[in-house]
Symmetry: C2
Subunit: 331 residues, 2 copies
């Protein structure tokens, strides 16, 4: 029977469409679609030897005298640091300078790796770079919001094969972020607790949507998942801002994120996906009602006119079944 | 230079990313991707002769003793009319019965047509069916929101070739709809006018984003377009609800919508697209601060992690250039 489910934190609804429900194992790729990039591509701007094709690194991790990870300013950035944030009007309409910071994290010299296939040390470097860049960028005066994300494959919006993540910082907190924060504030004022801490505790109580956990993080398919295999990773220790995580949490976050990505890679045959670290705005880094988390969204189905028009997503899978499927994948 | 632009009505922001801006004519399809469906497909459930594969029509237009358009209940509906709207809790989480109405409008018996290639009479039938079904469904007691939309092509989320539109009615008004209505209410209380009427007047004053107009409707690429060639069609006469349009408006809306779709079909080589008629919730059908309109969104670029995380869309084209390109397409 179809049902509506409400996102506990944002109050958005999804439809679990059981009339067209698909079994979790029906989502794996046609093997023909799988990517097999070469270990080195002389044309790739991120491959070793082509360092002059990118700006000088703003952060780098070296091993054995060679770079192991590089963070650089995005040459094809949607926003630029040298723009101002000045508002001006075009008739009645408002615009602002395209100020922002856009960086690319080149995760490894190897062209053919991805988080599911790189070593744990290598992926810990990636998370270390996220934290370093997050905290460094957050000290820029105009920055209000910092988004760390990874696009994997063309259906997820990237054509670049070389393993990389991105960071975009904006001088604006948009309604899409502000409205859920308002909901979280209302919940805090009503119940005296962080709604994300409550959700985390409830998912641990109910267990059936938990994919895995370690000492410091929980990975689960949310009750109101918008799409098949949507998985969230949430810190057990309340932090509003991703930038606040300590060394132990960096290690534990890298471990659980890599493990979930491995389960997705193996269980679903390397699908395209996005993941996004959603952190509170910089000026709300220590509030009690926000709680950073990561959303992993494999791109297995296509949102259509209904989703665009209403924001209600039709999910053709049960989050409970997706979680069980991922729990059972051996890595 | 990149810039932020604010949606005048919803206060959402977009980034016009001029560093990677593309010329409007760079978006047309690779000809190899074009669809050439057959005029009749014996396997297609919507083709003549296969009427028993769909439920009995809830609305039909006949010509010369044959059906010219049929509206039927969606057999693979995400929501069902026989479900209730009862809320219940799963632990702390809220769910509701999957009540709703889902219909398919089979626009013509011909398998290979689409709005850009069908006759004006045929497309007027489609809009007539939209109005008929909208008003009929709006009389159902549990219905709060009715979405009329069309998905064209696989990138727009449909695998069915036969020309069809869809209607989904829900017993819920989600935050995605409610929040912009709240903004519109605030604007009304501040300025004493409908913010959509103001936007319409401003776009007519500025002219450069206007694609075309007729006596009753304006088609334009919004100042804060989220994606290349996003086009809106808005009625010049203030109506909160699509269901309120009269016969003259049905004709004029069909004319301008078909003409814009023809320009997109010809100018961009038949790209996949969604269009959505966004109408006020049923119980707000006659308010002064809402204003129905239609969004046409060709699927030419792929939203990625940043868009999912922030709701800020990066648009790699100038709406002004897209509008000029569409104005210049001869139909």
């Amino acid at each position: 029977m179809p049902e509506f489910r409400q996102n506990f934190a944002t109050k958005e609804w999804v439809i679990i469409a059981t009339e067209r429900a698909r079994r979790p194992d029906s989502f794996s790729h046609n093997p023909g679609e799988r990517r097999n990039p070469p270990p080195f591509d002389p044309q790739c701007p991120f491959c070793p030897g082509n360092e002059e094709k990118t700006p000088a690194p703003v952060f780098q991790i070296s091993q054995n005298g060679r770079w192991a990870l590089r963070a650089v300013t995005n040459k094809f950035a949607a926003l630029r640091e040298d723009m101002d944030t000045q508002r001006s009007h075009v008739g009645l309409f408002l615009k602002a300078g395209g100020h922002g910071i856009a960086e690319v994290i080149i995760e490894t010299p190897a062209h053919d790796l991805n988080p599911a296939t790189m070593t744990p040390e290598c992926f810990r470097n990636v998370v270390e770079a996220y934290r370093n860049r997050y905290n460094s960028i957050s000290r820029q005066e105009k920055v209000e919001l910092i988004s760390v994300f990874r696009n994997h494959g063309p259906r997820a919006g990237t054509s670049l094969e070389h393993p990389h993540s991105q960071i975009i910082a904006t001088p604006i907190v948009p309604p899409h972020i502000r409205d859920p924060i308002f909901q979280a504030r209302v919940a805090y004022d009503t119940f005296g607790s962080c709604i994300y801490c409550e959700m985390l505790a409830e998912e641990r109580r109910q267990k059936e949507r938990v994919v895995m956990e370690n000492d410091l993080f929980l990975a689960y398919c949310p009750f109101a998942s918008r799409s098949p295999f949507e998985t969230r990773i949430i810190p057990k220790v309340h932090h509003s801002s991703f930038g606040r995580i300590d060394d132990q949490e960096v290690t534990a976050f890298a471990q659980i994120l890599q493990e979930v990505l491995k389960k997705i890679y193996i269980g679903l045959d390397n699908p395209d996906y996005n993941y996004i670290i959603r952190s509170a705005p910089v000026s709300e880094s220590d509030v009690k009602h926000c709680h950073w988390y990561t959303v992993i969204a494999p791109r297995l189905t296509t949102p259509a006119g209904f989703e665009m028009g209403t924001g209600i997503f039709i999910n053709v899978s049960y989050p409970e079944q997706c979680a069980q499927f991922l729990r059972d994948v051996k890595t």
